[in-house]
């Protein structure tokens, strides 16, 4: 019978990503309820030393495939390795991050394992001994409760939503043979072009300061950038601002952009169209600064300031400077 709550730990450049601890902690909760173990799969090159960190976040066993061919993430190599070990051990539940890599890997595993998955979940629990996953659908206009009727029951978890909680367990390392032949792989990474701006990626930022149609132009983003720099925040944009050419596509938050869940999201001159809300409504705190008191963003905001953003934002920066 299928058993155990499994996760795939995500690492890059020799370090585990924060979301790995989030999913480990979420897995621990489910496993405690079921009275089962948490097992992690860690694939990479020179990554065995990272296993102990997973133990700190409640992982009982870490299955490690450590090989030079896993130096770069490629779908075919990683999904073959994970599918093999998960199948051999008859996992009951399998959790991944809904990060860029996790989205790709988890979906490929759905195919390899011929199972079902609830994507980009914001809540998971056990009901009647099975995984019950809750996720936004239709840009967050609807929430779906998903039950997976095949094994492993898969879910991918939205980054920054689940708390990483230290809870030390054995973290025993089990090496496994991934059974992947390097020369059979059909894809490779030719080049990794790093963003050298030094700014946090939107999907990983703790704070995002975002500007919309009310910014009126590309140069005007300076007021937002100043506040963002002070707070160590990333700069985001609404679709209107991206379509107007004021900001690059990679800054877009929303239904056709990025989904973010920072601790603090400051929306400046953003009306709060459903398309934008879809990308940021799982933020922990939302601030809206907009001169239109009727803007729908205020219905979602924890704190609202009805005023001209060009008057308020520089004052916020000045005030924050006093205490930071």
């Amino acid at each position: 019978m299928a058993k155990g709550v499994w996760i795939v730990a995500e690492q890059r450049d020799g370090a585990l990503r924060k979301v790995s601890f989030e999913i480990a902690s979420a897995a621990r909760k489910l496993a405690d309820e079921l009275g089962e173990e948490v097992c992690a799969v860690l694939v990479g090159s020179g990554v065995e030393g990272l296993a102990s960190e997973l133990g700190k976040y409640g992982v009982d066993k870490i299955y490690v495939a450590d090989d030079a061919m896993f130096a770069d993430y490629t779908t075919d190599a990683y999904s073959a390795a994970v599918a093999k070990v998960v199948k051999e051990n008859d996992a009951s539940i399998l959790l991944l991050a809904s990060s860029v890599q996790g989205k790709d890997l988890s979906s490929s595993l759905v195919g390899k394992l011929a199972t079902g998955m609830a994507s980009d979940c914001t809540e998971i629990k056990i009901a009647d001994g099975k995984l019950l996953a809750i996720r936004p659908m239709y840009a967050g206009k609807v929430f779906g409760e998903i039950v997976v009727d095949s094994y492993p029951q898969m879910a991918s978890l939205r980054p920054n939503v689940f708390a990483a909680v230290e809870n030390a367990k054995a973290g025993e390392v089990v090496k496994f043979d991934a059974g992947v032949a390097a020369d059979a792989l059909k894809t490779k990474v030719l080049e990794t072009q790093k963003d050298t701006s030094g700014k946090a990626d939107l999907t990983e930022a703790d704070i995002i300061v975002s500007g919309g149609r009310g910014m009126k132009g590309a140069d005007e983003y300076k007021v937002i950038e100043e506040l963002a720099d002070l707070l160590g925040a990333a700069v985001g944009a609404s679709r209107a601002a991206v379509d107007a050419g004021w900001r690059p596509q990679s800054d877009q938050v929303g239904q056709t952009g990025k989904v973010v869940s920072p601790n603090l999201y400051i929306a400046c001159g953003i009306s709060g169209a459903i398309q934008h809300l879809a990308g940021m409504s799982s933020s922990k705190y939302i601030v809206a600064i907009n001169k239109d008191a009727e803007a729908p963003i205020f219905a979602r905001a924890d704190y609202g300031v009805v005023d001209d953003l060009f008057k308020v934002v520089p004052e916020v920066t000045a005030e924050a400077k006093k205490i930071l």
Binding site: D76, S107, V142, V147, K186, K188, L190, K284, Y285, V312
Partner: protein
Amino acid sequence: MNIVACVKQVPDTEALIKVKPDGSGIDEGGIKWVMNPYDEYGVEEALKLKEANGGEVTVVSLGPARTMETIRTALAMGADKGVHVTIDEADAYNTAAALAAAIKEINPDVVFCGQRAIDDDSGQVGSVLAELLGMPPITIITGFEVADGKVKAIKPIEGAQLVIESAMPCVVTAQKGLNEPRYASLPGIMKAKKKPVDVKDAAALGISIEPKAKIAKMTPPPERAPGKIIEGDDPAAKAAELVKLLREEAKVI
């Protein structure tokens, strides 16, 4: 070159979505249906590839009878023929299985999908389809070219972008930024009416309608407690109050 573009019909992004009283699904009344925006990038890239290399673009879609309108839209953009697999509802795995069954017969060099559909937001079908076709998936890409029989794609990841090379055939999923989809021209719309669309029943293709991932219930989004509007006329005073609340109450700065 033999090219496939998969499309899905979805509610317009502005559509008001209401859950049926029994939570079994959404109320489809009054919804305007459109082509999934990410699939438009896939269709556009398929057409560009055909224009550069010759060949044929087949648009494949799964869904109820109304899906035919979306297939016609892709044909009006310039696709050559269509395949409509009829089914009322399917989860990601069954959708991919049905598409795979239809696409196998076409024997394509490249299959384009949108990186996700904006209705269920699952983002699984392209990758599962790749797996079932035995092709590598290249997902969520913003750049695509074919040279020397190989695909070279640009994939943004957190804090970087990758240049990925893949053997062909492969399945590619399109992200916004890949291209600017063309509009269907009036002559295109006229021509589309005469282009062939093969209609197949999912059951006849041997596709299960029993979902692996089942939606047990749909609910409206959770209510958010009403927020605090910081009152006053002086922007500086309001800014000071906001900073104080963020520091002392929310503890986020």
